[in-house]
Symmetry: C2
Subunit: 174 residues, 2 copies
DNA sequence: ACCTGAACACCGTTCAAGT
DNA sequence: ACCTGAACACCGTTCAAGT
C-alpha cells in the first residue's frame, strides 16, 4: 500500500539552500530541513544518504546556478568577474560551501569553461590554463576575503576590485 | 582548598590545533580536547567560554605562526607567496580556519604589514593598499583552491603558481 | 513505497558537590 | 580554585511497525 510522496529531493535541497543562507552550514540540520518540507527527520533518509550528501547536493545546486550565470555573461574579464562577485553576494554561504564541501570540486569544472576561453583569448593557447587559474584564484580569494570581513585596513574595497581587474588585464595581455 | 592545575590554556589550544589537522574542525570536540589534555570535558570551561572561543583561539594561534613566518621571509613577492603557500601546506586546516572563524579576521591584520610594504614598493604609495589586496587575494584564492582540490583540469599546478607570480610582478610594476 | 515514533550514540554545556 | 559525575537539550541516524 504505497503512501503518496509528501516531499521531494528538489524541495529538500531548496530548503537546505535557504537554511544555510540564514546563518551558515550549521543551520542545516536534518530536523530543520524536515520541518521546512513538512516531514519527520527519518523520512529524509529516503532521499539522501546522510547530511553530508545533502550538503554536497546544496553545493552542486549552487554550482549549477553559478554556471548558468557565467554562461550568460559577456565573457569578458570584467564581465565574468563582476558576475562571479555579485553571485557570491547573493548567496554568500552557498559560495563558501562550493569550496568547502568534499566532492563539490568536481562539479566546479563545469564552471571553468568560460574562464578557460577567456584565458586563451587574453594570454594565448600556451598559457590559457595558467591564465585562467590566475583569474579564478584572484577573484575567488578576493570575494572570500570580502565575505569573511578580512579587508580591515580601510580603503575602498570596490576600488581594490577594479584595480585588480585593470592590472590583471594588463598582466595577461602583456 | 585549591586543586593543582591539571592543564592550561596553551595546552588546550595546542590540542585543538592537532585535532583539526587530523581531519577538519569537526574533529575538535570538547570531549576529544579534554581527553588529550587529561581532563574531563566540563573542566575546559574554566579556560574557554565555549567551543567557538576555542576555535577562535586556534585560528589566532595559526595567524601568529603565519605572521612570524612572513616576517622572517625576504619580503619579495615570490618570497612572501612561497612562504604563505608552504605554511598552508603544513597546516591546511589551520589555514582554512583563519578565513572561516568569526573574529579571526581582525588578527589577520597583523599579517598584512609585509604585504603592504611590498605593495608600496612595487606599485607606489597611491595604490599600495590595492596592490597588496591583489597579491593577497590571488595567493589566498590559489592556495584555497589547491587545498580544496579545485584544480581539476590537469596541467601543472606549480607552473600555474609560478605563472601567477610572474604576471603579477609585471602587472604591479607596470 | 514512503512515513512515523522510539531508541541509541554522540556532543555541547550547566551545575551542584567534591577536594 | 579547579575538578568531577550527573543531567539536559539537541542532533544524526537506524529500525521496526504502520499505511
Amino acid at each position: 500500500m504505497p503512501t503518496p510522496d509528501r516531499t521531494s529531493l528538489i524541495e529538500i535541497v531548496e530548503a537546505g539552500r535557504d537554511l544555510i543562507e540564514s546563518g551558515g552550514a550549521s543551520r542545516l540540520t536534518m530536523q530543520a530541513v524536515a520541518e521546512r518540507v513538512g516531514v519527520r527527520p527519518p523520512s529524509l533518509y529516503k532521499r539522501v544518504r546522510d547530511r553530508d550528501e545533502l550538503l554536497a547536493l546544496v553545493a552542486q545546486a549552487t554550482v549549477d546556478d553559478l554556471g548558468r550565470r557565467l554562461a550568460a555573461s559577456d565573457g569578458s574579464l570584467a564581465g565574468l568577474a563582476r558576475t562571479y562577485r555579485s553571485f557570491a553576494r547573493e548567496r554568500p554561504e552557498g559560495f563558501r560551501l562550493m569550496f568547502t564541501v568534499e566532492g563539490a570540486a568536481e562539479s566546479l569544472q563545469q564552471v571553468s569553461e568560460p574562464v578557460l576561453l577567456l584565458g586563451r583569448e587574453m594570454a594565448g593557447e600556451d598559457v590559457a590554463l595558467e591564465a585562467a587559474r590566475l583569474i579564478v584564484a584572484w577573484a575567488t580569494g578576493f570575494i572570500d576575503m570580502e565575505l569573511a570581513g578580512s579587508f580591515r585596513l580601510g580603503g575602498d574595497v570596490d576600488r581594490a576590485f577594479e584595480f585588480g581587474l585593470e592590472r590583471l588585464d594588463l598582466a595577461l595581455r602583456g
